[in-house]
């Protein structure tokens, strides 16, 4: 659940001459770019950056996955399409067990070597044989993939052990590395790949611990107008705000209260766009009494003032959640209106109904207005949220005051992120907030929400299903969903999954979480926006969608 939202949040967490040769680090001298301004992106955190461009490392620089190494195809979660990249298309065999990918002609690595199926084969096999390499393809490779073959230089055939069509999205998102370079790497886990050679639109030109620059790759297979990228490390929101206000940034992430603090400073050039692709939920630990009871979860849900959360935590820039916890715009054609209507009352503030439901569930109300659980204990729990996640902290406060109206005590506690993650993913929490999984289809979301396959015993780490709810009927539906590549059939199954979600309410949907994104059009135009919604604007390191944006950017005027 939440992990998808971590990277974008890290930015929101706020917070003598004789030495000079040493300070400058190990960079070889290189002249900075001079031809036109570089596109300046906020994506790196920290004032000293390590030179690591290993696409299989969790610690590599942002540009590695978002500007240097390309995936086979790119899932565009704004338009709902799978866009071609190194592969121009894919086909499934009739039994949905064999995936054939057609590769693009005329692609070369930045060192001039031609790209081909051998590189794809090598990358996937490298991930299979070396444990500890981070990448989208890791899970399908370990769980479903049988053989990978390359009948010719432009075709890759992946045979699966069983029909799991959603594996497609993970497999094609994998960034591909050149065989002729990586076959000489002794240990890909500890490799830092200081001089990256990729197929992407840029190549590394200058690296300093404070930041780095990339220049346009003249051998790139698409036309790109921007001369290069500049990435500086930032230590906190104040620096970012100052840099934005002094006109040094072209493309950034989160801007608090954007109309007032950002757009108003230069309405012609300062823009933001916050499309929504996932919901934020109030997550209860369903292994604990009384949260194992759907009636209690629904009672909590009806006590919550969602409109206030949107107004206060998101400056009114989002919408309250629907009953299935999927943003209404993110999955066109997938949401079942009848299920949404059926569940509407469980996600609508109705204090009388919430109180009645709690009474019915055996939560006796004391003289002080506070309830006790059916076991006779005070109905009081801890609601934990990570320190510095300001929007979540204010939402947690509203959850707490809403529940207090119904006689339930939720004590908001902020803890360090690492403490939060080990408590929550280890199943040792009572109440917390979490974000639903973003994906090409609602399959991944419902798998995390409802599948028994994702439920782990308390104490064992589970990042996907940390509310720890499983439903046998949902398992059958998910298996049927994965076995077909017929979208109409998948949509029918998804409606049944939505029905189970509404009936069980495993987590309590609150509001639609925006994908933060902001841009300045002083130097470059063509960024994705509400009027030109061709790709996501967020430059999240977990999604390769930045590759869809670079070719569309043009010099201003």
């Amino acid at each position: 659940m939440a992990p998808n939202s971590i990277s974008r949040r890290t930015l929101a967490i706020a917070t003598g001459a004789f030495l000079l040769a040493g300070c400058a680090g190990t960079t070889e001298p290189q002249k900075p770019q001079s031809q036109g301004p570089l596109l300046t992106i906020i994506a790196e955190q920290g004032a000293t950056l390590a030179r690591n461009f290993n696409p299989f490392a969790a610690t590599s620089r942002w540009a590695t996955r978002n500007a240097l190494y390309e995936p086979l195809m790119i899932w565009n979660h704004v338009t709902g399409t799978l866009e071609p990249s190194l592969a121009t298309g894919h086909t499934w065999s009739a039994d949905n067990k064999t995936l054939t990918l057609t590769l693009r002609e005329g692609v070369t690595w930045s060192d001039g070597t031609p790209f081909g199926s051998a590189d794809v084969l090598f990358t996937l096999e490298l991930m299979r044989t070396h444990k500890g390499l981070v990448g989208e393809a890791a899970t399908p490779l370990a769980q479903y993939v049988d053989t990978i073959t390359a009948p010719d230089a432009k075709t890759v055939v992946i045979a699966l052990r069983e029909a799991i069509t959603p594996a497609l999205y993970d497999l094609v998102s994998q960034r591909i590395v050149p065989k002729h370079i990586w076959e000489k790497v002794a240990d890909p886990v500890t490799e830092t790949n200081q001089n990256p050679v990729g197929t992407g639109p840029f190549v590394l030109s200058t690296f300093r611990p404070q930041g780095y620059e990339l220049k346009r790759n003249d051998k790139y297979w698409q036309k790109v107008e921007i001369p290069g990228l500049r990435l500086s490390g930032y230590t906190g929101q104040d620096q970012i705000n100052a840099a934005v206000l002094s006109g040094q940034i072209d493309w950034g992430a989160v801007v608090p209260d954007p109309d007032k603090t950002f757009v108003a400073k230069d309405p012609a050039n300062h823009h933001y766009w916050w499309p929504r692709t996932a919901d934020v939920n109030l997550v209860v630990n369903t292994t604990l009494k009384p949260f194992d009871d759907p009636a209690v979860r629904k009672a909590f849900s009806m006590a919550l003032d969602r409109a206030r959360m949107v107004d206060i935590a998101l400056w009114g820039k989002s919408d309250v959640a629907n009953a299935v916890g999927l943003p209404s715009q993110a999955y066109p054609g997938w949401l079942d209106e009848s299920v949404l209507a059926e569940g509407k009352k469980t996600v609508t503030l109705d204090l009388a109904a919430a109180n009645a439901a709690l009474d019915a569930a055996g939560f006796a109300k004391g003289a002080d207005g506070k309830r006790t659980t059916p076991d006779g204990k005070p109905a009081a729990w801890d609601l934990i949220v990570p320190t510095g996640w300001t929007d979540w902290i204010s939402v947690a406060g509203i959850v707490s005051s809403s529940l207090a109206q119904a006689g339930i005590t939720a004590n908001v506690k902020t803890v360090g992120f690492d403490n939060w993650s080990s408590t929550v993913y280890g199943g040792k929490f009572q109440l917390t907030l979490g974000a639903g999984k973003r994906g090409a289809t609602p399959y991944g979301y419902f798998r995390d929400m409802l599948s028994t396959a994702t439920v782990k015993p308390v104490g064992e780490v589970s990042t996907n299903n940390f509310h720890r709810y499983g439903n046998a009927e949902a398992d059958k539906l998910l298996t049927a969903f994965a076995a077909t590549s017929d979208e109409a059939e998948q949509k029918r199954i998804a409606a049944d999954l939505q029905r189970i979600y509404v009936a069980e309410l495993p987590t309590i949907p609150l509001y639609e979480q925006p994908d933060w994104g902001a841009f300045v059009t002083k130097r470059y135009t063509g960024f994705p926006s509400a009027d030109n919604a061709y790709a996501p604007l967020a430059n999240d390191p977990l999604f390769p969608t930045t590759y869809l944006v670079y070719p569309k950017l043009k010099a201003a005027r």
């Binding site: 998808n4 030495l19 000079l20 004032a47 390590a50 610690t59 500890g132 899970t139 830092t192 080990s422």
Partner: protein, 323 residues
């Protein structure tokens, strides 16, 4: 005679305690580095991958005392390990990039505020009750009573955003070539003005007050009356007779401040994106980067001990009475 060896022995014992605490303190924090990693890359790591990464990171489930033994043996061989948050960059390399900048920023700001503060304090004491004495120390104290964060943000906004006189942040600009040349030195200096200036501004009050107080004590001494009676010039009396004696207690304080330089200047580094050790320590703590934390704590304790030892030695030279 026996003073120095005794001090050295004391520092060795303190060092041993620090090395032990360095290991255990980070591990007392709730949470662990592996979960932090899973949290970030959940969809892209299988259980086997996670185990492989734990092995590569050197995270073992062995008993704590066994890990402690490994830590000690590595330490004696001078191996500080690799950083987990910036894996697989060696800790020494991570610290190396921040060390120089922290030293530059720290030394410049501490020495400047010490020098300026002591001069103001000495003059204010000499001219007790004058207009200078009734304005300068209170103003310095007033500036110091502002929260640093507020002061730094205000300076950043005014000088870098509003008037655009000084660079926003970082230690040098993108457009200069790092190296031993005048252009780079000038750029570094320009980038140093705001971070160092704000630190000096908020810390100067303490030095002023300290110097003024000890100086007033010294001014009643007979040898000053003697010096004046001899007809020595005022600057000579203030400088070589009064200030020289008054500065001794302040000197201990200076040693402590210089030792603290190695802990980095977290707030300054956050506000000005200055690439020092403070933010690295902060990052190490928030990501459970044990090796980096250990190395930074070690650096901090060792430098404080070394600087204090140096102050002790300097004391012997400066003050004949302790010999």
């Amino acid at each position: 005679m026996s003073r120095l060896p005794r001090r050295v022995l004391f520092y060795l014992a303190a060092g041993a305690v620090a090395v032990t605490l360095n290991f255990f303190l980070p591990r007392l924090m709730p949470g662990d580095p592996a979960t932090t990693l899973v949290a970030t890359y959940s969809g892209q790591l299988t259980a086997e991958d996670l185990q492989a990464l734990r092995d590569a990171y050197g995270l073992v489930d062995a008993p704590l005392w066994q890990q402690f033994a490994t830590y000690l043996s590595h330490l004696f061989r001078g191996e500080l390990g690799v950083s987990l948050s910036q894996f697989p960059t060696p800790v020494t390399e991570v610290i190396g990039t921040g060390f120089g900048w922290s030293l530059l920023l720290g030394l410049v700001s501490v020495l400047l505020s010490f020098a300026i503060g002591s001069v103001i304090g000495a003059v204010a004491a000499w001219r007790r009750g004058s207009r200078f004495d009734s304005i300068a120390p209170p103003v310095a104290l007033f500036a110091g009573s502002f929260p640093y964060f507020f002061m730094a943000l205000l300076a950043l906004y005014l000088f870098a955003v509003q008037w655009q006189l000084l660079p926003l942040g970082q230690a040098y600009g993108f457009d200069v070539e790092p190296g031993l040349n005048a252009a780079f030195a000038a750029d570094v200096l320009a980038h140093l003005v705001l971070p160092a200036g704000t630190v000096v501004l908020v810390s100067i009050g303490g030095w002023v007050l300290n110097m003024r107080n000890t100086m007033i004590g010294v001014l009643d001494e007979d040898y000053l009356l003697m010096a004046e009676a001899k007809g020595l010039s005022t600057p000579r009396v203030v400088g070589s007779y009064a200030a020289r004696n008054a500065i001794l207690p302040t000197f201990t304080l200076l040693g402590l401040s210089i030792g603290n330089v190695f802990a980095g200047q977290l707030l300054t580094e956050v506000v000005f994106s200055y690439p020092g050790l403070g933010y690295q320590l902060y990052q190490a703590v928030t990501t459970h980067d044990y090796p980096l934390m250990q190395a930074l704590f070690l650096l901090i304790t060792v430098s404080i001990l070394v600087v204090n030892l140096l102050v002790d030695v300097a004391y012997v030279l400066l003050d004949p009475r302790v010999r």
